[in-house]
């Protein structure tokens, strides 16, 4: 049980590349903190610095009231679950879990109690004698969790632990991890690039980009009030529609402000011909439709706005807007529609996207 505190943590590689540019946050006792961001944003590096697998070139990391900058990974009292599980291939499930305890000189009887308890929780009791290669992906994942649990550490560190599993198992394991963490109430830091995992697991969500923290907070707060356009487009799927406030069509519908970018989530649009007081209406021509069953995504190009090419792969091209419609009934391709969003659903950002502007 412990707090994990990061104070102005930096990582500069010998070549001069600055991977982590000064990060501060605190994970309270028993809290589940998720670091989320695109690949290369430094989230795994940061986690490995907490684990002690990467050196810290600036700032302080503090686990349970003790500065651990110079402490060996084994002595930090943390346990880590790796993306590829990193189980010892030649050891049985039992020995995989017992190894770390034996290295610490724990009595064999105590080891046995702890391993059987972990195996019971994780439903691995019947597999203790098997080798990792005889297990399925989900079972290996559980052994990796078990190896962390038996140590009863101050903190669990998870490095994208679910990304090697298939989609269905990933959801099941996600729920299991959350339940387990609640039950053990061990402070946890979890790294993922999957915003859905991030939203569902986190008590505290840390959104990272290019070595800096974009926003820290409760996941729902971040979803409802993204601090920057990066967070706005990263949290939520499909991403928030971001439109520069150049055209008169948009400007005339909004009160004058310093804002330069308007953001509206696909799920906040309604297709209607009626006007919503204070809201924004867009005229769209339907370009493509994705029917997922429970909902339908309508890709429309804005009338009167020049179409362009997306700045980054994966981004929407300028002039294109996604609208989510509940159910499987949507407009037809080529149809002209009018999408309206209410006033309280609008997000305004400064022109450089670095600041949120309240209406």
């Amino acid at each position: 049980m412990a707090n994990v505190t990061l104070r102005n943590v930096r990582k500069t590689y010998p070549g001069g590349f600055e991977a982590i540019k000064g990060i501060d946050f605190e994970v309270g006792d028993g809290q589940f903190c998720v670091l989320v961001g695109p690949s290369g944003c430094g989230k795994s590096t940061l986690l490995r610095m907490v684990a002690g697998l990467e050196t810290i070139t600036g700032g302080q990391i503090d686990i349970g009231g003790r500065v651990v900058n110079e402490v060996e990974p084994a002595d930090r009292d943390i346990a880590m679950v790796f993306q590829n599980y990193a189980l010892y291939p030649h050891m049985s499930v039992y020995n995989n879990m017992a190894y770390g305890l034996r290295n610490r000189g724990m009595a064999e009887a105590e080891i046995k109690t702890r391993v059987s308890e972990a195996a019971r929780i994780l439903e691995l009791s019947t597999m203790l004698e098997r080798k990792p290669r005889q297990l399925s992906g989900g079972q290996r994942q559980r052994v990796a969790m078990g190896r962390a649990i038996v140590r009863q550490p101050k903190a669990f560190l998870f490095d994208e632990p679910l990304s090697n599993l298939d989609a269905k198992l990933r959801i099941a394991m996600r729920v299991e991890i959350r339940k387990l963490q609640r039950r053990l109430s061990t402070t946890s830091i979890y790294v993922t690039h999957d915003q859905l995992e991030a939203m569902t697991l986190a008590d505290i969500l840390v959104v990272m980009n290019a070595g800096v923290v974009e926003q820290i907070g409760n996941p729902l707060d971040i979803y409802q009030k993204p601090a920057t356009t990066f967070v706005a487009s990263f949290i939520g799927a499909p991403p928030m529609n971001l439109m520069p406030l150049q055209s008169d069509e948009l400007k005339s519908q909004l009160p004058a402000s310093e804002a330069g970018i308007l953001g509206i989530r696909p799920e906040d649009f309604v297709i209607t011909n009626e006007n919503v007081a204070g809201g924004v209406a867009l005229g769209l021509t339907v370009e493509a439709i994705e029917k997922v069953g429970a909902e339908t995504f309508v890709y429309g190009s804005r009338q009167n706005v020049a179409q362009g090419v997306a700045a980054n792969p994966g981004d929407l091209p300028p002039g294109e807007v996604i609208v989510r419609v509940p159910g499987a009934v949507g407009p037809a391709i080529g149809e002209r529609i009018r999408a309206v969003a209410a006033r309280d659903k609008l997000h305004l950002f400064s022109a450089d996207g670095r600041k949120r502007v309240e209406i």
């Binding site: 990974p73 346990a79 291939p89 190894y99 290295n103």
Partner: protein
């Protein structure tokens, strides 16, 4: 998908059989010769089927030795060969796995240089450096000793390279998990790397055992006492005699005996050997 047609099967088997016959015929001939008496073998009309002298020939070869030529019983030569082959194989595994561990897992100054120096020794087999090596061994007073037979042949890069390649396929996370589990460098080596390297060690053992067993030039140079000669040298000596007929039946019995240990090693370690060279499963 390869089609199975009777004709192509027939051709394939015919070629394989022919290959086996070409390889096996001399071996068979050696075996047959080892079972006849001296007169029959030398007479020029040796039958193609085994004779009746097998027991006597093998008994004489193993325990008595060719009375006129090599003077030393084969049993002793077998022991010498065995000790040096095993010594070379185990010694090589030992220094290769340690040097590969150092080169792959430790960051020390001139790590690359160290690796390249090891690598360059590939270009310097015993035959090339034979004079300086002989001088060193002689100065260390290791002529006519097992150490002299074994040590110079241990030092080469093949094993280091093999283990280095294997270590580089071991995921880094395994090392990191070990560090978090509280295993230091030695524990990681002993508990994780060694057990994972078993098949690679087996492959290297097979290769090096046969390499050591078949050594000719080096033992020929440094062994002068009959009691230290290896079986390969022994066969050679049996065939050279100044004024007597070579005892071909004994030489052939010795040759057959010399073949057996490498064959046994390959047969018993075949499965591990193949896995060690093609291993991908981690």
């Amino acid at each position: 998908m390869v089609e199975h047609r009777p004709l192509s099967d027939f051709i394939a088997y015919a070629i394989l059989t022919l290959g086996i016959l070409i390889v096996a015929f001399p071996v068979w001939l050696a075996f047959v010769a080892s079972t006849h008496d001296a007169a029959t073998v030398v007479g020029g009309h040796m039958p193609a089927t085994p004779g009746s002298q097998a027991l006597e020939n093998y008994y004489r070869a193993v325990f008595v030795g060719g009375s006129r030529t090599s003077r030393e019983p084969v049993a002793n030569m077998l022991i010498n060969s065995f000790v040096s082959a095993i010594g070379i194989a185990l010694g090589k595994i030992f220094i290769s796995i340690l040097s590969a561990y150092a080169v792959v897992y430790f960051r020390f100054p001139f790590r690359k240089t160290a690796f390249w120096i090891i690598f360059i020794t590939l270009m310097l087999p015993v035959e090339v450096r034979i004079y300086p090596t002989y001088k060193v061994v002689a100065d260390l007073k290791m002529l006519d000793t097992y150490a002299g037979l074994v040590l110079p042949l241990i030092a080469s890069a093949t094993g280091t390279l093999l283990f280095r390649q294997f270590f580089m396929t071991v995921p880094d996370e395994l090392l990191e998990a070990s560090r978090i589990d509280g295993a230091g460098p030695f524990r990681f080596f002993k508990d994780t790397l060694l057990p994972l390297s078993v098949t690679t060690m087996a492959a290297l053992f097979v290769i090096q055992f046969i390499y050591g067993w078949n050594q000719y030039l080096w033992p020929l140079l440094i062994t002068t006492k009959d009691s230290m000669q290896t079986i390969v040298i022994g066969i050679k000596k049996m065939l050279v005699s100044q004024d007597e007929l070579a005892e071909w039946q004994l030489a052939m019995a010795t040759a057959v005996l010399a073949m057996l240990p490498p064959v046994a090693v390959v047969i018993f370690m075949q499965r591990l050997f193949v896995r060690g060279l093609v291993q991908t499963e981690k």
